[in-house]
């Protein structure tokens, strides 16, 4: 039995400190998912905290044969999707969203990075991606975040979001098309600094 399984077992019997150990381990993936979904640090903190509270209260429903991370991210994704649907989706416009940037987490260039210029470009890309993510329908957004930030397979995304694998594929295709269109509109003549097949995925 792994340390994580021991914590889960203890937490299922009401041990709050054992659950706090699980929170310590999974705080970054859960917070990141909420932050990427909601786009605001304050809302992400609230959503991540609610996710862990829900998980603690419904820990008896957790099937120990499945990965705990998948179960936790599933709760977070559904919570954020419901929250976004309640807020009513506002049509995306990069120009209209300057106010939101005040709340966004600023990623300052790392002066110790080996190539500060490339680091600045990477951060600018990440800022653009984060803003473009807000244009996606909540479930598509969750699929993209799970795929690229959490390296989930299509089958894992399907399990997390309660979708079929073909539905996940189609959502990922559509979402990346939308992101590419926004990218094209908001960046002057894209020029690849790296070749796409230099990435491990190609």
């Amino acid at each position: 039995m792994t340390e994580e399984q021991v914590w889960i077992n203890q937490a299922q019997h009401g041990d709050k400190e054992a659950f706090a150990c699980l929170v310590e381990v999974y705080q970054t993936p859960v917070y990141n998912l909420c932050y990427r979904m909601l786009g605001e640090a304050e809302a992400a903190e609230d959503a991540a905290q609610e996710t862990f509270l829900k998980a603690f209260q419904h820990l008896s429903q957790y099937d120990s044969h499945r990965p705990f991370a998948t179960w936790l991210l599933s709760i977070a994704a559904h919570y954020c999707i419901d929250r976004l649907r309640r807020q009513r989706f506002i049509a995306f416009s990069l120009d209209d969203r300057h106010g939101d940037d005040e709340n966004a987490e600023t990623e300052w260039p790392d002066q110790n990075a080996p190539d500060p210029e490339n680091e600045t470009i990477r951060r600018e890309e990440q800022r653009l991606i984060q803003r473009a993510l807000q244009a996606l329908e909540p479930t598509d957004r969750a699929a993209i975040i799970l795929r690229y930030w959490h390296q989930a397979s299509e089958a894992e995304i399907a399990e997390t979001l309660q979708l079929s694998v073909p539905a996940v594929k189609s959502r990922l295709y559509r979402a990346r098309h939308i992101l590419a269109r926004l990218w094209e509109q908001n960046t002057p003549a894209p020029k690849l600094r790296r070749k796409p097949y230099e990435s491990p995925a190609f």
């Binding site: 705080q27 990346r176 990218w183 094209e184 690849l192 995925a201």
Partner: protein
């Protein structure tokens, strides 16, 4: 411009052969929409996780304690309200009986004993009637038909239990 098969190659993210890589590179130099798709792929693949502000676990402990305290308060309040409602309904419903008992206790007690005897007699009569019907039915219908009937009913019950178990199974990723 024809984007096939380049768009599929980019979207599928599958490994490419050296000639395919050369073709794709040539296409990306001419096609802004496919270049944007490739740029987005690269940006997504280099995405990093954002950690929460420090002290997240302590804030969780505080929130959990506050939530549990609120739930305890709500439970006590709800329980007290339930007890009061049940008591109120019981007093309201039994008020005619209570008032007659308070007016003439011996007569009210006698009436209750008579009613109890009447109810017991009715139950006894019903049980005797059902016993007679079962005995007559058993002698009229052959044991084979009884066996088939009980077997069929058992199967229906089993089917029902299986359906219920399937419907109530908690899938992973359920909304909580």
């Amino acid at each position: 411009m024809n984007h096939l098969p380049f768009e599929d190659w980019l979207l599928e993210e599958s490994p490419l052969t050296p000639p395919q890589k050369r073709l794709l590179e040539a296409h990306l130099r001419e096609c802004p929409s496919c270049a944007a798709l490739a740029e987005v792929s690269l940006a997504l693949q280099s995405a990093r996780l954002v950690p929460p502000p420090s002290g997240f676990v302590n804030r969780f402990r505080q929130r959990l304690a506050a939530r549990q305290q609120t739930q305890r308060r709500q439970f006590i309040l709800g329980f007290a309200l339930l007890i009061l409602t049940v008591l109120g309904v019981m007093v309201g419903l039994s008020w005619p009986l209570l008032s007659s008992f308070l007016a003439n206790p011996s007569r009210a007690l006698l009436e209750w004993v008579f009613r109890l005897v009447a109810v017991c007699t009715t139950i006894q009569t019903w049980l005797a009637t059902i016993g007679v019907l079962v005995r007559v039915g058993a002698s009229l219908i052959s044991p084979a038909i009884w066996t088939v009937t009980f077997l069929f009913l058992s199967l229906v019950c089993l089917f029902g239990i299986a359906s219920l178990a399937r419907l109530t199974r908690i899938p992973q990723g359920v909304r909580l």
